[in-house]
Each structure stands twice: as structure tokens, then as C-alpha cells.
Symmetry: C2
């Protein structure tokens, strides 16, 4: 019995397989996108049959939606939760930015959200809605922390923070130069200097 698991799914074989599929699906979608994410290729990499994998989801749309959920889980686990140790406001914001960079450097492909957000920004439907909802949540949290830190215009501050970290991801992936993280950190320092004492 898991003490934390009120909504815990029973640890059956199927649930484990499903989780393994989604773990790989997030990685694959970070590289190929959620459209380029192919059931056949995913099955091949996991050494199982297309139809066997397919049965876990019933449709490609459901697989895509489940993949977005799994990606959000990973983001929470690697970026959000470790940042909760830092105090509210400025320190929390710095921790989130720093953990986001760690999150990026451990990925083989690019950031899932950077890849899929631009893939779906002109593609209406439930997948786009799920991505937009997840990113809105992330921006809202940045805004909330900026507000706690006491900045005059938390919306602008959060936007700028978001733009800098996502821009670092984008530039690094395309140029391969690790130096862009230094540029991004310099930009973040400038933002931090803006915070009231």
C-alpha cells in the first residue's frame, strides 16, 4: 500500500508497460515531434509489435495526449519539485531557471515543450489544448513567484524569464554552442538585479 497513492493506478503488468512506452514516447516526440512520433517506430524501439502497443491507447490521438501528460509529469519531477526547497519569490525563480537548464542538458533531444509548442501552435485540437494548458500553468507559476518577489509588473517579468530560458534552449539546439547558456545566465542576472531587496 502506497501512502502517497490515493489516485495510484494498480501496478499491473499493463500499467508498467504503458509507463515504459510513454517514457520513450516523450523522448521520441522531443526529437521528431508529436506528429512525427510514429507507432511503428515506437514499437520497434521497445521491441514490441505495433498492434500490441496500439492496444494500450486505442488511437494515435490518445497516445499523443498521454505523451503530453507524461512530459508534464517529468517536468514537474525535474524542474518544479526540486525548486520547492528554495524560498518563495526570487530564490524560487532562480532555482526554477537553473533546474530547467539541468533538465535541458540531460535530454538527448531538445526540450519537449519547445518542440511541440511550435509544432501545434497552428494546429487546433485537443493536443494543442493540452500543450497550451501545461505551458499556461508554467507561466502562471512564474508570474506568481515574480509577484511574491515584489516586481512591479510580474506579467512582463515572467514573460521575459520564459523567453530567456526557452530562447537558450532554441539557440543551443540549433547552434550547438554551450556558450549560449552563459549569455542566458547573464540575462537572468540582469533580471535578478531588478528584484527589490
Amino acid at each position: 500500500m502506497d501512502v502517497a497513492g490515493a489516485t495510484e493506478t494498480k501496478e499491473t503488468k499493463g500499467a508498467r508497460t504503458r509507463a515504459a512506452i510513454l517514457e520513450r514516447a516523450v523522448d521520441l516526440a522531443s526529437v521528431e515531434g508529436l506528429e512525427g512520433l510514429t507507432i511503428g517506430r515506437l514499437a520497434g524501439e521497445l521491441e514490441m509489435s505495433k498492434s500490441g502497443l496500439f492496444a494500450h491507447f486505442g488511437s494515435k490521438l490518445d497516445l499523443q495526449l498521454a505523451t503530453v501528460d507524461a512530459a508534464a509529469d517529468r517536468f514537474r519531477r525535474i524542474v518544479i519539485e526540486p525548486s520547492l526547497a528554495a524560498p518563495d519569490g526570487g530564490p524560487r525563480l532562480r532555482a526554477m531557471a537553473e533546474h530547467y537548464f539541468e533538465y535541458l542538458e540531460t535530454f538527448t533531444g531538445g526540450c519537449f515543450w519547445g518542440a511541440t509548442a511550435s509544432e501545434y501552435d497552428d494546429r487546433p485540437g485537443p493536443v494543442r489544448d493540452a500543450i497550451a494548458a501545461a505551458m499556461d500553468l508554467w507561466i502562471a507559476e512564474l508570474t506568481r513567484q515574480a509577484s511574491i518577489a515584489g516586481v512591479a509588473d510580474p506579467d512582463r517579468y515572467a514573460f521575459e524569464l520564459y523567453a530567456v530560458v526557452m530562447g537558450a534552449n532554441s539557440r543551443f539546439r540549433l547552434s550547438g554552442e554551450r556558450r549560449v547558456f552563459d549569455l542566458a545566465r547573464a540575462a537572468l542576472a540582469r533580471l535578478e538585479a531588478e528584484l527589490p531587496a
Copy 2:
């Protein structure tokens, strides 16, 4: 005889058709990506046959490369050239950011570069190289102007400028809120305030 056209292609029927194809291809790729850009769909929208269109390029790869070139042309025409009226340095930087926003708002789909850069950042090959080269040129120009304006660290300044305008594109496309342009302009004003008098 075109006075500007040393490398001008002869205005044959085929050249005109090819240009029309590429014009549409840029729009389509801005929405569907360069992988999602399909010869059949492109031909359908232009009311011509797949094979007739295909003959203009010989391969999908060549079509993609030609589309990247056409997109770079459009960017130069709408963003770069109108900005040359402004004096070097700070004014030029402001003009480029402002023209980039106009460029975005006239598009039906998102920014071609925002869409394709993240699509190809983990997909090695000539298409990725072409996109990366075009974006490096854009960043280099921003850096050059920042240097002329006299900022201490032009690399960081250019990165931040790039991050803000691309971030505005990304957030606007996903949220649909025109307000993000105000946030971006506020961020740009903060950057401008940094310039030495």
C-alpha cells in the same frame, strides 16, 4: 532590363510558376513544418498536378531547400530592408524588432523560422544547415548593431533581443493573446534603456 538584377533569373513561364509554388510553400511550411509540407497538398492548393510541381524541383529535399531560401528572401524584404532607413545602432535595432512584429501579424500561420528551427534542431542534414545559417546571419546582424550602439556585451544583448521577439511569437501563437506583444515591447524598452546615450 532590371537595374538591380545582375543575378536575375529570366522571366520564363517556368520561373514564374516556380516562384508562385515557393510563395505558397513558405506559408504552408510555416503552419505544417517543412516535413509536413506535402507535395500533393501543395499541388492541390495551387490546382496543378503533383508530377508537374515535382518536376520543378526533382526531389523533396530540393523543394525544402528552395523553400528555406524563399523564406529568407521574404524576411529580408519585410524585416531587414525597411529597417535600413533607420540609423545604425539603437534606432536600427528598434526598427528591426518593430518590423519583425509587423511581419508576424501579417502572417496567417506562425513565423517560418520559429516553426522550422525547432522542427530541425535535432534533425541533421542540409535543411537544418540552411536554417541554422540563415538564423546565424540574423543573430550576427543583431550583434553587429548592438556593438555599434556601444553596449558592453553585444552577444548577450543580441541574444536577449532575439529571445524576446521569438518568445513573443511563440507565446502569441499558443495563447492567442495579443497582450504578449505589450509585454515584449516593455521588455524591449528595458533593453533600450540599457543603451549608452
